[in-house]
Symmetry: C2
Subunit: 450 residues, 2 copies
């Protein structure tokens, strides 16, 4: 008899799992995907560049359309919202248009993704306050921006989305204010480098208000936002973009009795199965994962993890024995020409985890110093004092600086010491790097402290 896999959520994790499982099992597995929106398999990470008119959208951001998935034999149901999971009867309650129905499953994947954090502040529900997570969110924001040519935009939150949205507003030549309660933008990096991000944003014309906590939103008589009030003052705002991060969309899973962690995500084992429930998996932005450095459960919603977890589920649903190996919290972004990347622990996170730290920060260039186009870059690196084991690295710089983080990420992944990284065999030629690559210069600066 044909078994059925039901997938709740048709983006990166869900559709990857569905595709891998269907490709392997063929007619022996009935794959049903319940997707609330009208889209599948899209790049949420591309939305800021769509808003900033750097890339076309929304179609260009779709890696695979619902029809392409259907052509592969997957039953994609759009506008179909899962509203309940019953693990006893092994069914999902679905609302589709006005109708309710029930879909039975043998295997279930919860891939419900994330929702933007909306702080419970006065005025938060006013028109013109936008969270940005889905293509539909992006469409609404763009329509609103298109309707407000000279808008004063306030971005609340200077994380990845916040600074990417600041770049998008700059490209639209809008007056833009970026507010964050942290001492510097991007609290995923140490403030010593966050300062470079702030200075760059300021030079580009963004008003950066840090540290500054939003207290309320002013609303005009039409119900539209008109200002943002912080402790230190009030900023006029025709339009507000929330960049306060996202939280796991785990309410449905919680209601069904799945285990939810302290960070709000669904807990799985390394096979991405939810412990205590037979043939129930979870993957993507709705799950927690483990930090390989600390061993702690963390919530890091990124498309790259969602894809990899989805692959693991697709394989395991069809009888394989795959593992998702955890993460080291690698991330990269940019503000116009300034590239920013990180991996491992920030200084604060490392201290909180109880490590006795050494820290080095070095300035270098992206190419040999004498080579045309050599651009400045800064590497900041942390290691455990007793063992020299690397704990984290961050990079800011131009023109190829950011992707150097991958060498650091693999050093952390393999538990290398600063000395190991310093002496490893990285590429060298003058058009590409210095004879000691900047990440090795940073490692050497740590070695000197031992």
């Amino acid at each position: 008899m044909t078994e059925r896999l039901v997938v709740i959520g048709g983006d990166a994790a869900g559709m990857t799992a569905a595709s891998v499982a269907k490709r392997r099992a063929g007619a022996e597995l009935d794959v049903v995907v319940l997707e609330r929106s009208g889209w599948t398999s899209y790049s949420a990470c591309g939305i800021p560049y769509w808003v900033g008119t750097k890339v076309a959208g929304p179609d260009a951001l779709v890696a695979r359309t619902p029809q392409q998935h259907r052509d592969n034999g997957i039953d994609v149901r759009l506008g179909a919202e899962a509203v309940g999971i019953d693990l006893t009867t092994r069914t999902v309650d679905v609302r589709e248009g006005g109708r309710s129905s029930t879909v039975a499953f043998d295997s279930l994947l919860v891939a419900t993704g994330a929702v933007p954090i909306r702080p419970d502040l006065p005025g938060i529900d006013a028109d013109g306050i936008h969270g940005v997570q889905t293509l539909d969110d992006g469409r609404r924001l763009i329509d609103d921006l298109d309707g407000h040519d000279d808008a004063q935009v306030v971005i609340v939150g200077a994380g990845y989305i916040g600074i990417e949205m600041a770049e998008a507003c700059l490209r639209r030549k809008l007056s833009t204010t970026l507010i964050d309660r942290s001492p510097e933008p991007l609290n995923g990096i140490d403030p010593e480098l966050g300062r470079t991000v702030r200075e760059t944003l300021s030079e580009l014309g963004v008003a950066v208000a840090v540290p500054s906590a939003v207290e309320s939103f002013g609303v005009d008589k039409h119900g539209r936002v008109e200002s943002v009030t912080c402790a230190d003052g009030t900023y006029p705002a025709d339009l507000v973009i929330l960049g306060l991060g996202v939280r796991a969309a785990s309410d449905l899973a919680r209601a069904a009795g799945l285990d939810i962690g302290a960070a709000g995500g669904i807990r799985t084992d390394p096979s991405m199965a939810v412990p205590g429930h037979e043939r129930v998996w979870a993957a993507g932005d709705c799950v927690e994962t483990w930090d390989r450095i600390t061993g702690d459960w963390v919530y890091v919603p990124l498309g790259t993890h969602a894809n990899k977890q989805g692959r693991v589920v697709g394989l395991n649903v069809t009888g394989a024995d795959e593992r998702f190996p955890g993460i080291v919290r690698t991330a990269i972004t940019k503000v116009c020409e300034l590239e920013v990347a990180r991996t491992g622990l920030t200084e604060r996170a490392a201290r909180r985890a109880g490590f006795d730290l050494m820290t080095a920060q070095i300035d270098s260039t992206t190419r040999a110093g004498y080579f045309p186009g050599a651009a400045p870059m800064t590497v900041r690196m942390h290691a455990e004092r007793r063992t020299g084991r690397l704990l984290g690295a961050q990079i800011v710089g131009h023109d190829g600086a950011g992707m150097r983080i991958n060498a650091c990420a693999l050093a952390l992944w393999n538990e290398m010491t600063a000395a190991d990284l310093m002496t490893s065999d990285l590429a060298y030629a003058p058009p590409f790097t210095s004879v000691w690559d900047p990440v090795q210069v940073a490692a050497r600066a740590l070695v000197r402290q031992v």
Copy 2:
């Protein structure tokens, strides 16, 4: 009593060792450097870009001048050629100008570098045939090129130097022919990617003659080269550049009784000491090192290894216990906009080493496919069939493709499998890479073959 370190050769390995040792030992160590030329601490890798008028030279290529080293307390003797080493009396015979002298040492570092390979062919000693290894070589070549505005240049050998010199000649708008006996240029990469290098060179206007072995050089009545003859024909040549690689300048060491390996380089232990001789070290382009993948001794003369080995010597001379950990044969270069990088074993080298291989080759883009500036890149990767352990990777592509090799290099360094690399936490954002980085796409293609 003050001890004395004598260093033979004042470039990367020698001056790094001298600097590190002097900084650590201060007045307790007398450091004498015997350098045949008038230069110290220069970037030989920058010479092709100096010839190509991309960078200024020669001063810009000098990282530290003799005077700067002297200011640090190092006795740098320029124009001083070591002509003999006596390990019994522990002295070096030196020829300096017309004078001969003897310098005694307590510790000795042989850092004599490399010399360009000049094949023993008819006409090889004609004027206008240039090897390129030192700044003085570079100066002579540039003077000759400057005196031959419309020169037809023939480059013999399509290794790194050969293709970098082809780029230099293109920048000088010279008619250029590149000859190599291998089936494709750059035999440090598999011919499947070498083909892309050949096609790029051809499109840029270089005549690429492969496979074609040089048999003789025609010489005019003034003793200057006028042609290059191969089995398949004769190429007119006003000027010839030899890009046949270099060999270790190990004759002095051999005469002194130091151990020389099959690849012609001095053999050392991991501390860079020469076994069987007390306080004698060797480092840089005159030594062999070991390939971490095969365990074999190999000759890979690169500035990055020379610097690292020099550091190890400088520390060990002054009482430390450092090790040079071997290499994985990482290298990078470019032909105008085409970046080319490799690490680990080529397919041929892996088969020769007895591995049962899997190979994957994938085409991807340097950024998310929908992002402006996404440029094509190809990754080719080898793994051991039985274990999945990665054995080698090569990349050709544009605009940031090449430096992806560092992720592969660290994967090899840490003996990762294709599955390990595929699931590791590399950076992702649309302006920088796809959600599966191209090196992970290649690893995944290998995993599918298991």
